[in-house]
Symmetry: none
Subunit: 276 residues, 2 copies
């Protein structure tokens, strides 16, 4: 085979699909060693992002240099470039997103329209990421627990308050007995939480003391606590029976709540439906 075919050299595959079709195009005119590379790579596409040349070479049972020649035949400059494609394709857009937003300095932000475009993009990505990250089993458990409860207590302050109030609104519309704790009358937790009730606690870093306290209190009394939070290691996780995490992109101190609101709405509507 002609290794220096100028056609192949010109440009590297720009997407995984591109990569696949290019691989399919050459695979059966490759000599033995390179064929081994192709086979092993094709069979282990999902490990390219996290492997070294040496790892893959051992797997394919070829010397490292063969693997690199193989990458070059596909149009990459070397293994690193191919790996970059696979690393970047995984949850596309996320890697440099936080950085991009961070670069958008508040003072230097362009027109409101440009800002809007950024936030729309952030919201879109958050929703996509929500789709792939939600744990069906946990969501199901959360719905079941809330559906079985007498009264649902909702607590979420500061940044989480809009979500909490939205939940309260939807529950009310569905005639589900719910109580929104807004932290104004701070003493009422202990009297309001009754056996048979359940709690939805919403908080993001920096976690609000009052929210944690109420959730803690409820857990101590054996009530189910559903957590809507930003990560598994959240302090809420310690005393929650179901932890739902929402991957949301921050902008400075601000957080677009698109994904959180959508998840909250799902929870509320599913609970309402389950009660009928």
């Amino acid at each position: 085979m002609e290794l220096t075919d100028p056609m192949d050299q010109l440009v590297a595959p720009a997407s995984i699909d591109d990569f696949r079709s290019r691989l399919a195009g050459v695979i059966d005119q490759l000599p033995r060693r390179l064929r081994q590379c192709a086979d092993h790579i094709a069979a282990n596409e999902d490990r390219i992002a996290v492997s070294t040349v040496a790892d893959l070479a051992v797997g394919a049972d070829v010397p490292p240099s063969a693997l690199i020649r193989f990458c070059q035949i596909l149009g990459f400059s070397g293994f690193s470039e191919m790996q970059r494609l696979f690393r970047g394709a995984y949850v596309p857009g996320w890697p440099d997103y936080a950085t991009r937003l961070a670069d958008l300095k508040l003072g230097g932000a362009g027109s409101p329209t440009a800002l809007l475009a950024e936030f729309i993009e952030a919201g879109r990505l958050s929703l996509e990421s929500l789709a792939t990250s939600v744990d069906d089993a946990v969501l199901g458990r959360a719905v079941a627990e809330l559906a079985a409860a007498d009264t649902i207590h909702i607590v979420g302050l500061r940044r989480a308050f809009p979500v909490a109030s939205y939940l309260a609104y939807v529950f009310e519309n569905m005639s589900v007995s719910a109580m929104l704790h807004d932290g104004i009358g701070k003493l009422d937790h202990r009297f309001a939480l009754r056996p048979g009730d359940a709690v939805i606690a919403i908080t993001f870093a920096p976690y609000s003391e009052e929210t944690l306290a109420l959730a803690h209190d409820a857990a101590d009394r054996g009530l189910p606590v559903v957590a809507l939070t930003d990560r598994q290691a959240s302090p809420l996780a310690k005393f929650s029976s179901a932890v739902l995490t929402v991957p949301e992109v921050d902008f400075g101190a601000f957080r677009a709540l698109s994904a959180t609101i959508v998840l909250a709405m799902t929870l509320a509507v599913a609970v309402g439906a389950a009660r009928e």
Copy 2:
């Protein structure tokens, strides 16, 4: 914090769960920089396997050495060992958003995950149409008017209340003087609205009387009123100086606020930026 606690040094976390609980155990006794590492790592667990120290350090906004110290506190010998753990457990999530969404829908009509898929889709559509439907000129005018105001009055009840409270939160964080009218003390409009102030009114069909009344009142006194509503023919349009419409896609009887929240955030951040 004692960095050389012998307990932590002894053995590296053996699993991701182990890692998470160890992280949760130390996270709130870490000093500033290390705390940043912890936050960023926790929020980007899924990228550890495919990132370099430098990448993550940039994301966390710390020097690389801080990140490595952080890994060591968790019990690893360094970053590489931590990465090894995540590479082993790595299962690529791939850009299979579409597939995943389809799977969710298949969860069976009525199941929480099927619902979630529908809401995510509705949210995405709303955001996309927001991008194309916003009138730059109107948005610019709204920002200018609000930026010039002394105090910004925010009114939005029922379904719109989460958006209003979100605006109030963001303004507060940006030290913009704002007042959230929650309809509890209904008499105060007339005394609160002062010359030089401006109003953001948010309402969707069926339009809330109180919101319209406050907006009307403000317009009568010559204050600028920015409307966030669902269509140009909204009753708010009559007495608003800038009408921003949000094309929110309904799913059944329910409306997600994804696009509305994003537009509100843009407004708030742009106003905050313009004030500096």
